[in-house]
Amino acid sequence: GAGVSQSPRYKVAKRGQDVALRCDPISGHVSLFWYQQALGQGPEFLTYFQNEAQLDKSGLPSDRFFAERPEGSVSTLKIQRTQQEDSAVYLCASSSPGGGDYGYTFGSGTRLTVV
């Protein structure tokens, strides 16, 4: 596609519910990142994929957070047993092959509200 597509655009979850957030990167982009942006804050790194390999997951806040990219294209961020502190905008970004120029393209994000 022309850009990075994220769905759903908005998600309201009851506390304790599991959610899955989808990212469809630009075709051919090798690198894919997930960021979490709390209200009034800058984005914070969650995890990084190069093709299907998850090379860095140091930013995942707890074992309730899980990300995958099984075929090296679409990625899913799953949050189990959601908590109120998980409320945030989740941003996905992809970059051109190798990502050496840091040419990231960000999606518009999924706004998650946990009630």
Binding site: V4, S31, F33, Y35, G40, Q41, G42, P43, E44, F45, Y48, Q50, L55, D56, G59, L91, A93, S95, G99, Y102, G103, Y104, T105, F106, G107, S108, G109
Partner: protein, 114 residues
């Protein structure tokens, strides 16, 4: 640990006035530096980036930024602000040689008065 500080949470300028948004970073080596803009409900758009070379970097939409190693700063400037520049601005640093993840400042909200 690496960090990025944007000292101004909120700035208001009049349309046509000049703008400077401050950014300071903490990093041992020369970092890769970025400025992004985020409009409400939108993703982040890259304004400009600095890797090496000329310390004055030109970006899109008439923005520029200057890398000052001695001050660990990378301030964003625009000589004449337009109403459409009202948005959230983020400074970010990437750690050279690693996966390329970005560390963002907390952002500066720019309001433009008519």
């Amino acid at each position: 640990a690496q960090s990025v500080t944007q000292p101004d949470i909120h700035i208001t300028v009049s349309e046509g006035a000049s703008l400077e948004l401050r950014c300071n970073y903490s990093y041992g080596a020369t970092p890769y530096l970025f400025w992004y803009v985020q409009s409400p409900g939108q993703g982040l758009q890259l304004l400009l980036k600095y890797f090496s070379g000329d310390t004055l970097v030109q970006g899109i939409k008439g923005f520029e930024a200057e890398f000052k190693r001695s001050q660990s700063s990378f301030n964003l400037r625009k000589p004449s602000v337009h109403w459409s520049d009202a948005a959230e601005y983020f400074c970010a640093v990437a750690l050279s040689g690693n996966t390329g993840k970005l560390i963002f400042g907390q952002g500066t909200t720019l309001q433009v008065k008519p």
